[in-house]
């Protein structure tokens, strides 16, 4: 039996300890906002936060993260108003949207570390996230906007731990 806190909610489940966190989230606990893109840590679609740090859930066996705190896109904010979520909507960043959960999780982790990232910071933090639709220029713009929004609101980027909507106790 494994135990994991996802978006502030505790889950217990029984799976093969080698099962990557991605498939636990998606298939077992039904947090489908986190996406599969490559299964090899090459595309970033599966990015979630482990204690605030961005990790590739497709490469992370469940045994490595047990008893720790995971944040997925569903828990990035309680009300969908994390500055990254606001900036993404304001600039209509997504095209198909599939990679954007991972993009936003990487962006939020960057902003938590660097309040006003430079283009170079953004390139570094985001180069592991592929967007085949090609929304990169808007992603860059949106990260700058999110930084400004956070600044304008004169608040810290809200903590990542909040309650998710779609998770279910098991």
């Amino acid at each position: 039996m494994h135990s994991l806190t996802i978006n502030g909610k505790k889950h217990q489940f029984d799976v093969d300890e080698n099962m990557p966190l991605l498939w636990v989230l998606r298939d077992i606990l039904k947090y489908t906002g986190t996406k599969y893109g490559c299964g090899k840590g090459l595309c970033g679609a599966c990015t979630v936060h482990l204690d605030g740090q961005p990790i590739r859930s497709c490469l992370t066996p469940i045994s490595v993260v047990k008893n720790q705190e995971i944040t997925t896109i569903e828990g990035l904010s309680e009300d969908g108003k994390h500055v990254v979520q606001q900036a993404w909507q304001t600039l209509n960043v997504p095209q198909c949207g599939y990679c954007q959960s991972g993009q936003m999780m990487s962006a939020a982790a960057l902003l938590a570390k660097e309040a006003q990232p430079t283009d170079k910071d953004i390139d570094q933090a985001m180069s592991g996230n592929i967007c085949r639709c090609g929304t990169y220029t808007r992603i860059k713009e949106a990260i700058h906007l999110a930084a400004d929004l956070a600044d304008k609101l004169a608040v810290e980027i809200p903590p990542m731990q909040t309650v998710g909507k779609t998770g279910s106790e098991s």
Partner: protein, 751 residues
């Protein structure tokens, strides 16, 4: 069926005040349908449904049915914009419903950049028809002349009396009005548009995407659902010789192992065969597949080796079996020319790699299929499932989820058929998931191509002859075994070469297919525009001309090109020449606009260069200028991209721009990295490590401008792609003097 959540994809738009400029955060109603019909007749009894694209209910809600697939082009926003505009609907009262696969909508095949091109007019008429009937209903109710009743923001207003009635209050009366004849409809004037042509309409699915609340094909979940991954033959039409599943069956979560029927050519949209592993979760299915021990029997296609094939293609270019355009006398003009310039171009086999690989869920129960899939073509999914399973098409309900990218891959419903076959066999819901490796190794590929061009130049430095031969395996091979010469592909950038040259000949050589060949975003325009636009630049340089000025002179006078007079059959993307002529004036228009945007002709920093290309495809015109810099070690960097697009009426300018931005990145990917190769018939690549695509670090600022036009709307999703790769290579030549004629550029160690 009440447990199937989110897949009905109804969506209310709330708090999306236009022009507010404020952050737009919709309130969400996750309205769940108790039955899988997108248009559940039973739910709303008091409603006005004048046509298949919209419904208005007594609660004043307007449901707009989107019958095309959303794959990032923004169609779930653009279709409601068109219908709501003509209807005079209040955007906040709109609910968006994804249409099931059903022939009543007309074609739902979301490819060929056709959604707005083909449905702009019918959708406007649908909105206008409903508006007219509501106005008539109000006139009847108030006993006033109908011309005094006007629709405004989900109400009908009677100006002189000040009476106002909501759409909702009029539905019963409106439903009794005769549907107006098409020719009597009065469509809105451009100046009265509320949404069409406006750039401030937020994405219908924007909030769901931002909060991870979307349902893609991969995300469909049902009670008792099984997960399936399939080991498919590594060589096309290869067969399972024998297999041992004993280890696979020991994997925890693996439930069943099922052998699928072999595929025979033509492959069409049939599953490829192989062994399916059925499990309680995706990971177990993948582990089970890895544990399978399969002996494959090869096929005739194991002869396919990319290196040898390239040599054969080059030879085939010299022996065209089919002349596709012929004007004047090219042989004579070439021999009479003062100078003959020749060049050959090679673009390798490519694959789509949408971020979401194909996935489909099927549930066979009570003689009926309920299917959810990220398909570009629910109607074809329906007919192919029906054919493969013997179930009547009307008993195959195909729900369209969001698509995590499509690019043409998801217009082939083979993966939907796989899910249907397995569910019928297992009598439970089955979700078939393709891994990235599956998608790359067992795709419908953009065909490899070799092209040879020659031009004659007179003493007066005028281009007098143009010869262009291509060899590339045709898409027709997927539908007709052994087809080995292009047909419709000729109209995608080969015979529609728009330069004003007296002697022109285009031909195609034979090229047998050894993988499934399919269409990929902008299709053969990718390679044919690469050659045509690169060669134009080569001719500019050979004649010591400025690339942009030469391009304009090569295009020549403003005119409509009539290819039917040049021994060619031009498909014109299924459109008539009357409505969508091949207009050199518009072609030059985008060239001039993009040159202005890029400040063409002004001095550049040392080591920088500009490249230009223009191409018409899907009846739209796109010109692109790329600025690159080269450092001392010869590495190049993209500095800027400018694109000018003339797609006629710009319905959703914001999404048109995003499509151009995305097309630039798609073009960068194939110019820099795209290279699928085969060894003994097996595709050698398998993931983003050996089939890379552009990342954020590859992509420069991209500026897009849309030409203002009242011409009928053309395509948008694809036309941005073709000019990008040649503009990049032309820019590299301008900066470095090196001409690259074979893609991808990564092989030259300059990226």
């Amino acid at each position: 069926m009440s447990k199937i959540e989110n897949v009905s994809r109804r969506r209310f738009l709330k708090s999306v005040g236009l022009g507010s400029g404020a952050l737009v955060l919709g309130v969400q109603f996750s309205a769940l349908l108790p039955i899988p019909k997108a248009l559940a007749q039973a739910i709303k009894t008091d409603k006005f449904e004048p046509n298949v694209y919209l419904q208005i209910t007594a609660d004043n809600k307007v449901a707009i049915i989107v019958h095309r697939s959303e794959m990032g082009q923004g169609i779930r926003t653009s279709i409601p914009m068109v219908v709501a505009d003509e209807l005079e609907a209040d955007w906040q009262q709109i609910e968006v419903i994804q249409g099931l696969g059903d022939k009543k909508y007309g074609s739902q095949n979301t490819d060929g950049s056709r959604s707005i091109r083909r449905f702009y007019q019918p959708l406007r008429e649908a909105g206008a028809s409903a508006r007219t009937m509501l106005e008539q209903a109000a006139a009847k109710k108030w006993r006033v002349p109908v011309k005094e009743c006007q629709a405004k923001s989900n109400t009908i207003v009677h100006q002189s009396s000040g009476k106002v009635a909501t759409f909702g209050s009029l539905v019963s009366l409106a439903a009794q009005m005769p549907v107006p004849k098409k020719e009597t409809l009065v469509l809105k004037e451009k100046s009265d548009f509320n949404f069409i042509g406006k750039s401030n309409v937020p994405l219908v699915d924007g909030q769901d995407i931002a909060t991870g609340n979307t349902t893609f094909g991969f995300d469909v979940d049902m009670p008792n659902m099984r997960y399936a991954v399939i080991a498919r033959p590594p060589v096309l039409t290869g067969k399972v010789k024998s297999f041992d599943a004993s280890k696979a069956k020991k994997i925890a979560g693996v439930i069943d192992i099922i052998q699928l029927d072999n595929v025979e050519e033509p492959v069409l949209f049939k599953p490829l065969g192989g062994i399916a592993v059925i499990a309680t979760n995706t990971w177990a299915a993948m582990q089970g597949r890895a544990a399978l021990d399969i002996q494959w029997q090869s096929s005739e296609h194991s002869s396919y080796n990319s290196d040898e094939y390239k040599i054969a293609l080059a030879k085939s270019c010299d022996e065209p079996s089919s002349i596709l355009r012929n004007k004047g006398d090219v042989e004579q003009a070439l021999s009479a020319a003062d100078k003959v310039i020749s060049a050959q171009y090679y673009v390798p086999q490519l694959i789509h790699v949408p971020m979401e690989p194909p996935a489909a869920t099927a549930h066979f129960h009570d003689g009926v299929f309920d299917i959810w899939a990220c398909t570009q073509t629910p109607q074809s999914a329906q007919s192919n499932v029906a054919q493969a399973t013997g179930i009547a098409p009307e008993n195959v309900n195909v729900n369209v989820t969001l698509l995590g990218g499509g690019f043409g891959r998801k217009s082939k419903p083979d993966f939907v058929v796989e899910a249907a076959i397995l569910s019928k066999k297992l009598k439970v819901p089955v979700k078939v998931l393709w891994t990235r490796e599956d998608e790359i190794k067992n795709g419908y590929y953009h065909a490899v191509s070799f092209q040879k061009l020659s031009a004659g130049i007179s003493a007066a430095k005028k281009v007098t002859a143009w010869s262009h031969n291509v060899a590339t395996p045709p898409i027709g091979s997927t539908f007709s075994k052994g087809a080995d010469v292009i047909t419709m592909e000729a109209g995608l950038g080969l015979i529609d070469m728009p330069y004003d040259i007296a002697n022109v000949r285009c031909g195609a050589g034979k090229a047998p297919a050894h993988t499934r060949i399919g269409w990929m975003r902008s299709v053969t325009n990718i390679n044919q525009a690469f050659a045509v636009c690169s060669f134009a630049d080569e001719l500019a340089n050979a004649t010591n001309n400025d690339s942009k000025d030469f391009l304009l002179s090569l295009i020549g006078e403003d005119r409509f090109i009539d290819l039917s007079k040049e021994e060619s059959k031009y498909g014109n993307y299924g459109e008539t020449a009357d409505k969508f002529p091949l207009d050199t004036g518009r072609l030059k228009g985008v060239v001039n606009r993009v040159a202005t945007m890029a400040k063409w002709g002004e001095k550049l920093p040392k080591g920088h260069g500009l490249g230009i290309a223009v191409h018409r495809s899907f009846v739209s015109y796109v010109a692109c200028v790329v600025q690159i810099s080269a450092n001392e070690s010869g590495r190049i960097k993209l500095e800027n991209i400018w694109m000018a697009v003339d797609c006629g009426v710009a319905v959703n300018p914001e999404r048109i721009k995003s499509q151009m931005e995305g097309a630039a990145v798609f073009g960068i990917s194939l110019a820099f990295y795209g290279d699928i190769t085969a060894k003994d018939g097996v595709i050698e690549q398998g993931n983003f490590d050996d089939y890379p695509v552009a990342r954020i670090t590859d992509v420069p600022p991209t500026m897009v401008e849309i030409i203002s036009s009242d011409a009928p709307p053309g395509g948008v999703g694809e036309p941005g792609v073709p000019p990008v790769a040649p503009a990049i290579c032309n820019a590299i030549f301008s900066a470095t003097g090196k001409r690259y004629r074979e893609l991808p550029l990564k092989q030259y160690n300059i990226i």
